[in-house]
C-alpha cells in the first residue's frame, strides 16, 4: 500500500444472516479525496462504514485503513452516523455534544478545563456553529445539528471522515451549505471524506469520485464515469437511464 492510499478493500465479502451484502468488493481511496457513496437502501453503505470502523469483520477479503486492520476506537476516523433528530428535552448544549467527540469515551464525570473549552470553541467556529455553542441541542434545526455532528467527528483531528447521510432532512440550500463546509474542511485539513447520500446532484461540484453500490457490487470512478446509463445498468442488472439536464443528472429506472 503506497503512502497516498488511506483506505483499501481487497476482495471483501460480507454475509449477514445468510444474505450477501458485499460480494468481492475492491476499491481504494487516496488521501484528501472526497468520495460520494451512492446506492439504493440495503446496498451496504452503512455496512461499509461499520467495516471501516472495525465494528464488523468481513467474511472474506482484506481491509486496510491507514496502514492497519480497522479497529474500534480509532481516533483517526471521525464518524457521524445517519442522524436522528435529537430530542427537545435533552439537557445538553451544543458544546456538550461536540465534547463527546473529544472525551466521551473516557471514564469519570469530566469537569472540563479551559483547554478543552478552547478546543471545542475552535472546532465550533470552524463549522460556523459557535453562535449557538451554549444552546440546548433540541432547540437547533436539522442543519445546525448536522454541523455539530461534523464538529464532533472533527475534534480528534481525524484523517478520515465517514458521514452517513448528512444531507438527509436538509433542504437544498442547507445541503449546499454543508457541502461547501465539507469541501473547505477537506482542503485545509487534507482529510479524506466519504459521504453517503441519496442525491448526487448537490455533490457533483464537490466529489472527486463516486462509489456506487448496488446488489452486492460496487463501481468507483469520477462522477462522469460512474453516473452513466451503461455503468448503472450493469450494476443494477436492469435497464437504467441517466439523463443529464444542465448541471443536473437524473437516474431513471432505479432507486438511488
Amino acid at each position: 500500500m503506497d503512502q497516498k492510499t488511506v483506505i483499501s478493500l481487497d476482495g471483501v465479502t460480507v454475509e449477514l444472516g445468510g444474505r450477501t451484502i458485499f460480494d468481492a468488493v475492491n476499491f481504494s481511496v487516496e488521501k484528501g479525496e472526497f468520495v460520494a457513496i451512492l446506492g439504493p437502501n440495503g446496498a451496504g453503505k452503512t455496512t461499509l462504514f461499520k467495516l471501516l470502523l472495525g465494528l464488523l469483520k468481513p467474511t472474506k477479503g482484506e481491509i486496510n485503513v491507514l496502514g492497519a486492520v480497522p479497529h474500534r476506537g480509532d481516533g483517526n476516523i471521525g464518524y457521524a452516523p445517519q442522524h436522528r433528530v435529537l430530542e427537545t428535552d435533552l439537557a445538553l448544549r451544543a458544546r456538550d455534544v461536540v465534547g463527546f467527540g473529544l472525551d466521551g469515551n473516557k471514564w469519570g464525570i469530566g469537569f472540563g478545563s479551559k483547554k478543552r473549552d478552547a478546543m471545542i470553541d475552535a472546532v465550533l467556529k470552524e463549522v460556523d456553529a459557535y453562535q449557538f455553542a451554549d444552546a440546548p441541542v433540541g432547540h437547533l434545526s436539522g442543519g445546525e445539528q448536522q454541523r455539530l455532528l461534523i464538529a464532533q467527528a472533527l475534534i480528534t483531528d481525524p484523517k478520515i471522515l465517514l458521514l452517513d447521510e448528512p444531507l438527509s432532512n436538509l433542504d437544498i440550500s442547507h445541503a449546499q451549505e454543508i457541502i461547501a463546509l465539507l469541501t473547505e474542511i477537506s482542503k485545509h485539513r487534507s482529510v479524506t471524506i466519504m459521504l453517503v447520500s441519496h442525491d448526487i446532484n448537490p455533490l457533483l461540484p464537490a466529489a472527486n469520485r463516486v462509489l456506487y453500490m448496488a446488489h452486492g457490487h460496487s463501481a468507483m470512478g469520477t462522477p462522469d464515469e460512474i453516473i452513466t446509463s451503461a455503468t448503472l445498468s450493469k450494476l443494477y442488472d436492469t435497464k437504467v437511464e441517466v439523463i443529464r439536464s444542465g448541471d443536473h443528472v437524473f437516474v431513471v429506472g432505479a432507486e438511488i
Binding site: 465494528l55 464518524y79 428535552d89 435533552l90 445538553l92 466521551g104 469530566g110 432547540h139
Partner: protein, 265 residues
C-alpha cells in the same frame, strides 16, 4: 418546632431520605435522558414482589427488592433491543410481579401494615440498621455512577458513535439498569412502590427543563430531590399527614409551573 430533630427516628429519616434523594436525583437524570422512565416505574412494581417475598421468608424487605429488581433490570438490559416492543414486554413482566406480590402478601400472616408501607413508604419508621444499609448501598451507587458518567451519557445520546469510539455501549446499558434497580429499591423506603416517580423522575424532569448542561442538570436534580425530601419529612413530622403525600405534592407543585413556562412546541 425544631425540637423534632432530637428524636432518633427523625434523624434516621433525614439521613436515609438524604441518601435516597442524592441517588434518585443522580440516576433519575440518566433515566430521563435515556427515555427509560417507564422501566424505572416497572422496576418498582417488580420490587414489590421482591419485598413481599422477603417478608414471607423473614428477611429485610430491602434485600428482596434488590434481588428482584436487579435481576429484572439486567433482564431488561439484556433482552431489550426493540424499543417499540420493550414497554409492552416490561409491562407484562411487571403485572406478573404484581400478581406474585399479591400472592406473597396473602400468604404472609403478619400485619397488613407491612404491605402498606412497601406501597407508600415507611420513612418515619426506619431502623438504625436500615440507615446504615441505605448509606452503604447509596455511596456505592454514586461511586459507580460517577465512574461511568461520561461514557454512559455519550452512549445515551449517540450510541453508534460511542460504540465506534470504543465505549462498551451494551454493557453500560445493562449496568445502568442494575443501578436503576438499586436506586428504586432504596427509594421505596422513602416514597413507596407507587410513588417512585416523585423521587426518580420528578426532580430530574424539572431539572432538565431548567438547566441545559449535564453536570448542572444532575446537580439541580439532586438538589431538588433533597429539597423535596427534607421539606416532606419536616412537614410530616410537624403535621399529621404522611411524608409521601407531602413529597409527591411538592414535586408536582414545582414541576407544573416550570413545565408550563418552558413549554416547547
Amino acid at each position: 418546632m425544631f425540637s423534632i430533630f432530637q428524636y432518633s427516628f427523625i434523624q434516621n429519616a433525614f439521613l436515609t431520605g438524604s441518601v435516597v434523594a442524592v441517588v434518585g436525583g443522580f440516576v433519575g437524570y440518566f433515566l430521563v435522558t435515556r427515555g427509560l422512565t417507564f422501566a424505572g416505574h416497572a422496576l418498582s412494581h417488580i420490587g414489590f414482589a421482591g419485598a413481599a417475598a422477603a417478608l414471607l421468608i423473614g428477611v429485610d424487605p430491602i434485600f428482596g427488592m434488590l434481588a428482584f429488581t436487579m435481576v429484572a433490570g439486567a433482564g431488561i438490559g439484556v433482552f431489550g433491543k426493540d424499543l417499540r416492543e420493550e414497554d409492552i414486554n416490561i409491562g407484562i413482566v411487571m403485572t406478573l410481579a404484581l400478581g406474585l406480590g399479591a400472592l406473597f402478601i396473602s400468604l404472609y400472616n403478619g400485619y397488613a401494615e407491612q404491605a402498606y408501607s412497601i406501597l407508600f413508604g415507611t420513612i418515619l419508621g426506619i431502623s438504625h440498621t436500615d440507615v446504615l444499609i441505605t448509606l452503604a448501598i447509596g455511596v456505592a451507587t454514586i461511586a459507580v455512577m460517577a465512574v461511568i458518567f461520561r461514557p454512559l451519557l455519550f452512549s445515551s445520546v449517540d450510541p453508534e458513535v460511542a460504540e465506534a469510539r470504543g465505549v462498551p455501549v451494551r454493557a453500560l446499558g445493562i449496568l445502568f439498569l442494575i443501578l436503576v434497580a438499586v436506586a428504586v429499591s432504596m427509594s421505596v423506603e422513602v416514597v413507596g412502590v407507587l410513588l417512585i416517580f416523585t423521587l426518580l423522575v420528578g426532580p430530574a424532569a424539572t431539572a432538565t427543563r431548567l438547566v441545559h448542561d449535564p453536570i448542572g442538570a444532575v446537580s439541580a436534580s439532586v438538589g431538588l430531590a433533597l429539597a423535596y425530601t427534607w421539606l416532606g419529612i419536616f412537614l410530616a413530622a410537624t403535621g399529621n399527614w404522611p411524608v409521601t403525600f407531602y413529597i409527591a405534592t411538592i414535586s408536582f407543585i414545582v414541576y407544573l409551573p416550570i413545565r408550563l413556562i418552558t413549554a416547547r412546541k
